[in-house]
Structure formats: C-alpha cells, structure tokens
Amino acid sequence: MELSSLTAVEIVQGIQSRVFTCKDVVKACLKTIYEKESSLHAMLFVADEGALKRADEIDAAAQAGQDLGPLMGVPVIVKDNICTKDMPTTCASRILENWTPPYDATVVKSLLNAGAVILGKANCDEFAMGGSTENSAFGPTMNPWDVSRVPGGSSGGSAAAVAAGYAPISLGSDTGGSIRQPASFCGIYGMKPTYGQVSRYGLVAFASSLDQIGPFARTAEDMKLALSVICGFDCHDSTSEKRPAPQFTFNDAPLAGKKIGILSRLVAGKLSADLQSCMDVQIEKCRQNGAEIVEVALPKALEYGLACYYILAPAEASSNLARYDGVRYGMAYKDAHSLLELYVKTRAAGFGPEVKRRILTGTYVLSSGFYDAYYLTAQKVRKVIKQEFASAFEQVDAILLPTSPTPAFKIGAMSSPLEMYMADVFTIPINLAGLPGISYNAGFNDEGLPLGMQLIGPRWSDAEILDMAAYLGKETEGRIAEGGIR
C-alpha cells in the first residue's frame, strides 16, 4: 500500500485504528514530494521537520486513544498566500521572500484544530495574479499529467501537489478561477465556496471582494472533509457570514428532479473540441440521471464579466498591495536616502511584471477623473451580473459549464496577458456574483490531459453542488497523476 496515495478519509481511519502511524503517512508524503518536486516545483516550502514533529504528537494522541478531529493526521498543503506562523508566506513574490507571518490564518487554525499536519506551502502565481503559476517569482509549477504544461493558476502548486500525491488535501484561493481552473487542469476537485463561507482572515489579499479560500482533493469525500473543517463564521472577517456551517452530505441520486442550466449557445465556439464533447457527454449524463436540462442565458456575465473583473480586481489589488513598502516587513531597499526612494526601489525590485501591470491598471481606474468611468461603471456591471445569476437560479438549481475553454496549455504558450485573461471567462463571473463553484474531473482527452467541468449554484448552495459534482466526478476521481514525470 502506497501511503501517500491514500485519501484523507483512509488516513484518518488508518491512524485511529492504528493500522499505520501519522509519521508513516507524513514520511511517505515527504518521499513523494522529494521524488517528484524536481519535476513539478509545486512547493515553495516543505515543512519536513515540523511535519514530522507534529506527526509524533498526533501519534502520541492516537496511542492515548484521543480523537484530534476530523482531519487527524491528514497531511495538508497550503497555498503560499495563506498565513502560517511556523512557515514563510511569500505569495510567490520577491517582496515577501523569507517573510514569516506573526499569526496563523483562520483556516490554518481550523486545519490544525481538526488534527491536520501542514506539510508545506504551495507555489502559485505571484500574489495569486495569473492563471498558470508561471508568474511565480520562484519559477513555474509543472502539470503532473504532462510536465510540459502548466498546472493552471493561480493555485497551481496546490492543485499539482494533490494531483501528484503530495497530500490528499490542499488549500488554494480563488479570485477569478484560481482554484477551479487548476483543479480542472490537474484532474481533481477544486471548489470556490460562496463568498463569505470561508474566513479570509490570513489570506493575503489580492482583491478582497472576490477572494475566497477553498480546498482541492482527489475525492469528493475528502472535499467534504476539508470543507466541513474550513467553512463557518469567523469574527475576524467582517465579510464572513454569520450563519450555520453547511452540512455536507451525499445523496444517492443528487441529480434526480433537478434542473440543470446550460449555456450551450453562449459557450459554442469558445471551447476546444475535447471540452465541447466532454460537456455534451456531461449534459447527457445529467439527463440520464434524472435532471432536466434548461438552457439559461447569462449574456452579460459572459460578455462583460471579464472587463468588469479586470477593473475591479486590479483596483482592489492596487490598494491591497500598497502596504509592501519596505517599512515593516518583507523586502526593503537598504540604501534608500528618502522615504520615496525606499518605496520606489523596493517595489520596483520586489514585484514581478504581472503584479506591476495590475497595480498600474488599478491605480489608473481609481484615479480621480477616471473613477466614474471605470470603477463605478464596473460596480454597476457587477450588480447586473449578480442579478442575471439570481434570475437564472430562479429557473435552475445549478449551472453546468466547462471550467476552462481548454485543457492545460503548454508552458509559455500564452503570448499575451490578454490571452491569459481570456482563459478565465467561465470562472470570473462566479466570483463577481459571489457564488459557489466547483470543478470536477469529467474525463481525459486523447493526450491523457484532464478535462474539468464546473458546477455553479446559488449562494449558500455549496453542499448541493458538491453533492452533484461528487456524483458526476465519481467515475474518474482519485487518480494520482503520473504522466510525464521523469
């Protein structure tokens, strides 16, 4: 039995019934990491020593018959933009290189309280800005199904790590598709919960009104486990909703009698052939399982979502990233003779090109004289998009569409930022509307690349869409990516 390929559910059972120890599991996972990391570069920090120490504690508790929680002994990998006080949190940026936060993010606390072992920090696009993990200041992550391809982004490291068997569960963050798209590229589940469902406290902000933490896992059961641990109200996050945490349960026939919305006309011509046929198969599968298929219209979401997002997200980012000034933490230009020089030299050297591009865009759209034309207009469009989704969800229980128009593309294939932005067209509107969305694996193309589909539900339907995705994704779930790793 390969311990590193076990699911979280199996690990908890195995440790609690003392079939193996947490240390065995952690060692196996570390071994997998060491074997594959030179090919994948999914990690920015591996907490080998700390994880082994933590495993000892868990084993001692297991010996004593203690139950440390639903994730007892489960190795978890956390995206490097989520604060961990025992590990650096760099956001894959030079400007935060070697920075270790003075506190744990709420989700990290929740994981630890549930008995998890944090194995390390996953690579990502710098400050979560990107869709391929190529924007990491510390080098890209490769797709474990084909190392010549990207794992998606920005949570590419988290997705690749779980797909490659580094750990059964990882956390990512999703501002415009940053969990769902890499999940689809890596053939696993990845969910962006409803905005307000998971605390953002300790998630280094990119675009505060859009950011949401969510889990990756190879199986739906593990998704359920992870979500049940991280969802819930947090008094440290004013945008987290004071409502009971969702109850995640799986039904035998979650699609029966449900109305599933599709956007066949709107997505037509935007998809690669493999995804087009994948979508057709999935629609048919829904129908066969008792769902009624309804064509819905989200014209504004798909037409204006991207433009709206690329105004609002950079606007918020320009403000959120202003704090990296070399005064308190992170990189600081040492020979500055004035405050201005400190700012300019630190930020010029510390940020990568994509981050700078977005800061500039955001600064521009917020400047006086342009605010109304850009920011305010975008806010209005956002309202319209929300309304459009709300109307759609009066007709249907969920919407099914591909997560990304294509499977994982080659590293370096995207020639311009705009081309890269276009790849997010199906995921971005969901963030704008604050909805939950989940990507599940719906098969593989001829080249063996995973094909991901996305289910979107109304706000707070997280448990329902996971239930449906679990049913639709069951056939191909749980595989460890072995393709192309030398």
């Binding site: 935060l96 953002r200 403000s319 704090r323 005064v327 933490y329």
Partner: protein, 490 residues
C-alpha cells in the same frame, strides 16, 4: 478709501474617541507613555492577510457626536479607503468614511463676537482610524538632519471622529469659542477627553480674507496648534499676515502653513503641497453599516443632558446668574456636584457661591478633579443649612470647611474642633469683646452717641468687628442687644 476685511474661517477637528480598544482591532487605545509598538497586532500594523473588524462602540460614539451637533444621522453608511503612502500609515490606506459620513448637516452654537448666539454649520462628522507616529532620529527629534526615523504604531487605529465645519467662523476668537464648545460637548458626551495638548483633539484651520473691494484672498490651511491659545494666536497672526499682503495688492499663496508657537508665526509647511489623488473607493473588507431606527432611538434616549440644555435649566430651576451658570456647567462633573449640593438641601444661590469659590479653590490648590472633591456634596449642603439657620456664621462656616478639606473629620467633629457653635460667645464673654472694641474705636462710639449715625452704618461696623472678634460665635441679635446696652450705659 481704506480697505475693509472679513475673516472667513472653517475648522477641521480630529477628535480621538476614548473607546477602550482601537477602531478595527482589540488593541488598547491607552498608548500615551507606552513602550513604542507595544499596543499593536497584525490588524493595526497592516500585516498581510489581516482584516478590520469595526468596533461597535466607535459607531455609537459617532452617532452620539452627530446627534449632539444636531446632524442628520445616516442610517446607511460605509467605510472607504483613502490611499496614500506614508510610513506612519501601515496599510498605505486609511479607512475612513469619505462618501457617506455617519453624520452631516448640523450646527454648533457659540457666542459670537457680537455677544449673540451664533450657529456654526457642521458639514460632516465621519469616523476614521488614526495613523502611527514617526519619531525622527535627529537630536531635537525633528526630521531635519536626522539620518533615521522610527515608527510607533501604538496610535495607529485609534478611533477618530473628524468634524468639518462650514466656513462660518468670523474671527480667531470665534474659532477659539467653537473649539472650546466642541471640547465641552465631547466631554459632556463622554466620547473624548478633548485634550488639545495631548493631541486627543487636533485642529486644522482654513482661513481666508474677503476684501471690501471684491477680492477674495486664497485659502490657507494652518496646522500644528496645540492649545486653544495657540489656535487663537495662530489665526490672529494669519489674519494680519493675509490682510497685510492683500493691502499691498499681493496674492495669498494657497498653501499649508505650520504654526510656530515659540516664534509666534506661521511658516509654509515643508512638505510639498500635496496634489495627492487619494483614489477613494469603498472598503471591501467591511460591509456597509446599517443602523436601524431602534438603535438610533436607543442612543437618542440615552443621550446625556448637553451644555445648552443644562444652562437653560440651571437658569430656570436655580435662578443663577449667567456667569455662575457658565462656571458651574463648565464640566458635567461640576454641574453634577453642584446639583447634588442643592438636592441635599443647599440653597441654590449660596450653593453656587460655595462651589464656585471655596470648592473650586481647594480643587485648584490640590490639583484635583471635582470627582475627588474633598467635601461631599451632602456635607456642604448641611454646612450651608447651618449658616441659613443661623447655627453658625458664614465666617465660622469657612473655618469649618477648611477643617473638612483634609477629609478626616465629620461635619460635627469639624464644628467642634473649630469651637464655632453660634451662641458660644455670650453674656460676659460678649461684653468683654464689646468693651474692647468700643475702647479701640472711641471715635465711632462718639458718633453713634451723638446721634449722627443716621443709617446705623457705624453701628453695623461695630457689630461686624464684634462678630469677627467672636469668630462668629456670637448670635447677631444678642450682639446688637448687648451693644445697645453698652452704649446706653457708657
């Protein structure tokens, strides 16, 4: 023809609200004298990933302030980000209510230069966070010549209410009056200590001149005034400076100037005139704030009596002079002390005299607050009653009061210690005193005897001397009787 000028002043006052914790985190606001950066956390130092959570008390204080200033309270308000770079601003943005302040369109009434009540319009009151403090490395603590600077974030995140006035203030004196009234108001409300010296109330002034020939001088912002006196002096200086320039046909540079208290002048601010674009936008980390009617009504119902209302009531209920009322209502504590004395049976007018003179003098001498007044209001009331009932004289009462000040004796003990029971000096003792006084004032005695003391003036004079000599322990009617007897016999 000589030019005439009208001064136009608008003030912006930053008032530190005295909540126990900061506006967006649980750090203590009690930072004065604390070790630098000891009252900080991830939130108020702007650590990546940290998020603000609004302190409800700050909202309450804001609503109270707004109500006291007769403002419209905005039920739906929200915070915005004001973006700019500075080392004392940890997030590189200040969270403030830019687009929709919690309160707006109010007024504060002051006594104008003409002696009449004058309403100063309040444009807005909005809530925001304070910044940290920079400490520069030069020997004199100034930025000039220092090679390094330090930041202390203890003050960062302390709640502020910024109150912006309309340009309704017509003179430096009125500006002082306005700030003084504002300070009194926040103290009455208990939302700030309003201390300008400590920086818990910071005033920036916008001042310009309108000239009788139709010209308008540019507006100048004056900062760095750390007391009421400094505010008045700075504005007086600035008025003269601007009028002088305008008289000579020059233009006023629109700029920010700093008040130099030592030299008594304003100088152009060293910082470049900011053409800052603050790129305000709604703070996405804080949902809009919705105040329901019940909440607003609750606050309205629990508003303390404010200075104007109290003064009016004092006049109606106690019939005091305006001057008495102003002194007694200076702070809510003084007013409360006074009212306790009256409530315990002290005559309103005499209680006022006692509080204004004796009680306040002792407090001044001892450097104490009225809350620590050495003589409890009930005791003072009893003392006043004893005088009214002619049990002891006013002079004796003053002695008794002094005995009470150390706070060790009861009223009875103090009276005993002074030996000042009225009537203790009578009979032979009284006659002895009269004899002595008559001997010392032979000329007066002669006048009375000769019938020239038409209005009993001389008689009263003698009586006073006798009372004084008896240290108030003789009964006045007995003194009069004995004095008459003595004069008729001798």
């Amino acid at each position: 023809m000589a030019l005439e000028f009208t001064t136009v002043i608008g003030l912006e006052i930053h008032i530190q609200l005295n909540t126990k914790t900061k506006i967006f985190c649980n750090c203590s606001t009690d930072y004065i004298g604390a070790t630098p950066n000891s009252h900080v956390c991830p939130v108020c130092t702007g650590q990546p990933g940290a998020l603000p959570v609004l302190n409800k008390k700050v909202v309450e204080f804001g609503v109270r302030g707004g109500m006291a200033l007769h403002c419209k309270i905005n039920k739906l308000t929200r915070f915005d980000r004001k973006n700019y770079f500075y080392a004392d601003l940890p997030k590189a943005y200040q969270i403030t209510e830019y687009y929709v302040p919690i309160a707006e369109h109010g007024y504060l009434t002051i006594t104008g230069d003409d002696g009449q009540p004058h309403r100063i319009g309040i444009t807005r009151l909005h809530l925001e966070e304070d910044a940290g403090k920079l400490v520069h490395g030069a020997a004199d603590g100034r930025i000039v010549g220092s090679v390094q600077s330090f930041v202390d974030y203890n003050r960062g995140g302390v709640p502020l209410a910024e109150v912006v006035s309309e340009p309704d203030i017509k003179s430096p004196r009125e500006a002082k009056e306005y700030v003084s009234a504002m300070r009194q108001l926040v103290r009455y409300l208990g939302i700030s200590d309003g201390d300008m010296e400590k920086g818990s109330m910071r005033v920036d002034a916008n001042i310009s001149q309108k000239v009788s020939d139709g010209r308008w001088g540019n507006r100048v912002e004056v900062k760095n005034m750390n007391s009421l006196k400094a505010l008045e002096r700075a504005l007086e200086y600035e008025t003269l400076r601007q009028r002088d320039l305008l008289t000579r046909g020059e233009t006023i540079v629109q700029e920010t100037r700093n008040w130099d208290d030592a030299d008594g002048i304003t100088t152009p601010s060293r910082s470049k005139e900011e053409s800052n674009d603050y790129r305000y936008f709604p703070e996405p980390d804080l949902p809009p704030l919705l105040l329901d009617d019940e909440y607003i009504e609750h606050i309205r119902a629990t508003m303390p009596e404010l200075p104007d209302a109290k003064r009016e009531r004092f006049q109606k209920e106690y019939g005091l002079s305006q001057e008495d009322i102003l002194v007694l209502t200076e702070t809510p504590e003084t007013a409360a002390y006074y009212e306790s004395v009256v409530k315990a049976g002290g005559n309103p007018v005499r209680s006022s005299n006692w509080v204004r003179t004796d009680v306040m003098r002792v407090l001044r001498e001892q450097g104490k607050e009225i809350a620590e007044a050495p003589v409890a209001p009930e005791v003072l009331a009893k003392l006043i009653q004893l005088v009214d009932d002619k049990k002891i004289s006013t002079t004796a009462a003053k002695d008794v009061f002094e005995k009470l000040v150390p706070g060790e004796l009861t009223l009875e003990q103090a009276i005993q210690e002074c030996g000042v029971q009225i009537g203790a000096v009578a009979g032979d003792k009284l006659n002895e005193i009269i004899k002595k006084i008559a001997a010392d004032n032979g000329d007066v005695v002669e006048i009375i005897k000769s019938g020239q003391d038409k209005k009993d003036k001389k008689m009263k004079f003698l009586m006073g001397l006798v009372m004084k000599e008896s240290r108030g322990q003789a009964k006045p009617d007995e003194v009069l009787k004995a004095l008459n007897e003595f004069l008729s016999k001798n």
